[in-house]
Symmetry: C2
């Protein structure tokens, strides 16, 4: 069965859609600016579980995932639309009010104005479509297709925390009763931070040749970036910045969290520079380099170099 | 229980959202143009039934409902995003391909480019969020709030057909076996025509003081328009242009279809002019006038004048 990436590529080719396939579409706005815009659909029991999350955290996350796409273009978020489908049992209580409270708290932080959207009833499951638009100086949006052999590969922050948090939730631990490092990893899953400031900084300083946000996992998103750029990549296991709050798992499991699991919403980018300093207290780590082996992502460790299979989170 | 209109009004007041509450949000684009943008969420078994519709008709309708919102601002549609949530049983077959075929056929007709969106799996029901953006000459978007006492009220085309079509479908008649006038009303429900050309014409000629599309029904949408404009309205039962393909229903039922049922996707607008000629073969009919009775919509017939209750389709 085709997966959604194949499906989208097929639609893109069949109908000649030149703006589809990056974190955001880039559209000319005026003589100085481009508009960048993204939509993210979140479905109950596929993308989130109501028994794991607070409504205000879910509102935050719905906006955060789209802000992360704007960050991945180097954009400054400006306005948003929010479409929600709600079953009657949630509509009756305070759920929706708290959901919007969480949404607006993050929106205020980034100066994002809600300009529209839709509210509908659903038979039983909640669904959210989050649309966020931002701006970049004309021609400076950082696309997925600009990586060249020899570029260094960087990631912001640390990886694997969201996956460890999800593992804790799936094993039945409750967020409300959690504390310390377990709670921190659950927050990575439930309450992600979009890397807006770093994305803007990289665009302003023209430091990145390509960028993508890590929503499907480092390996999957590095594959996406390499395929868009017609290049390959080699990353070093020792250099991957693993979330320090992950504990109680074997080492190979921790590396798997960091490589193969999504939702950390860090930025993955390439640069001609070999060294970049951390920005505004967010670390930036060089994890490898771009190669000319088109579509091939290698993982080098002290013992050996292996080719990583092309996988990651897929809906189908 | 609050309905969704009260909920949206509450959110709008609480968070000071000045751009929410019209058919589209209007945002400054460049020195000459404004951007108008809308999102419409369509949920299986709430907004459509898969056993009644062909996938290509559903794709058409998903785009048409949002194009209708752009038409209601006097806008020229430019680009769109489409988020779809699909259950696995639909993903496996040709459903999604045919859905996109219907979408693209209408998009091509109006020169609309698909620039983004999302594809997700759902547990069992299909959901669609349709986002369409258009442009207007700066400051010329036709809002809901410009109607003034003495203005004439007009509607495009004819009303009630979509409701009659829905009635036929609900009573078990199949579209594939229908013909003649029954089929025509079913097409009004399943395959609506957005009134883009008339909307653009009214904006270009500065003929309309306010406008809304008829998605919730003439009565409900006239109430929305009157509330936005702080005015009232009187319409004449004899003047309401009833769809000539409706037959086999009693007269009061036909008038109820035309007044109280939605989804005809005609345009309802007000004008200083008392007489407007039909445009490009689409009729334009004067049905009444704006009054100073704030929020009150009256229906005058030969026998009497009654106040119409404020109702229409509501999700909650």
């Amino acid at each position: 069965m085709r997966n959604e990436f194949e499906f989208i590529r097929n639609i893109k080719d069949k109908y000649g859609l030149s703006r589809v396939g990056d974190d955001c579409a880039v559209l000319p706005k005026d003589v100085r600016k481009d508009l960048v815009i993204t939509a993210d659909l979140l479905v109950e029991d596929i993308d989130f579980r109501l028994e794991w999350t607070r409504p205000e955290h879910l509102g935050h996350k719905a906006l955060a995932v789209s802000l992360s796409d704007v960050a991945a273009m180097g954009g400054t978020p400006e306005w948003a639309m929010l479409s929600i489908g709600i079953p009657e049992h949630l509509w009756k209580g305070q759920f929706v009010d708290k959901f919007y409270e969480g949404w607006f708290e993050l929106a205020k932080l980034h100066g994002v104005e809600l300009v529209g959207g839709d509210v509908s009833r659903t038979p039983d499951k909640m669904v959210i479509d989050s649309i966020v638009a931002g701006e970049v100086i004309r021609g400076t949006a950082i696309m997925r297709n600009g990586a060249r052999p020899g570029d260094s590969i960087f990631v912001t922050g640390s990886l694997g925390g969201a996956a460890a948090g999800l593992d804790h939730l799936e094993s039945g631990r409750q967020f409300s009763k959690s504390r310390g490092r377990v709670r921190e990893t659950m927050l990575r899953q439930l309450f992600p931070t979009p890397r807006i400031e770093i994305g803007k900084y990289l665009a302003m300083k023209n430091l990145a040749t390509s960028m993508i946000d890590i929503s499907d996992g480092l390996n999957a998103d590095l594959h996406h970036l390499c395929e868009s750029s017609d290049v390959g990549a080699r990353i070093y296991a020792d250099l991957v910045p693993v979330d320090k709050n992950i504990f109680g798992f074997p080492a190979d499991q921790i590396l798997r969290f960091a490589l193969a699991s999504g939702e950390d919403f860090e930025l993955l980018f390439t640069s001609k520079s070999k060294k970049l300093s951390s920005i505004k207290s967010t670390q930036i780590t060089r994890i490898g380099e771009i190669t000319s082996n088109i579509g091939i992502v290698e993982l080098a460790s002290r013992e050996k170099t292996i080719r990583l299979p092309r996988f990651g989170y897929r809906h189908f």
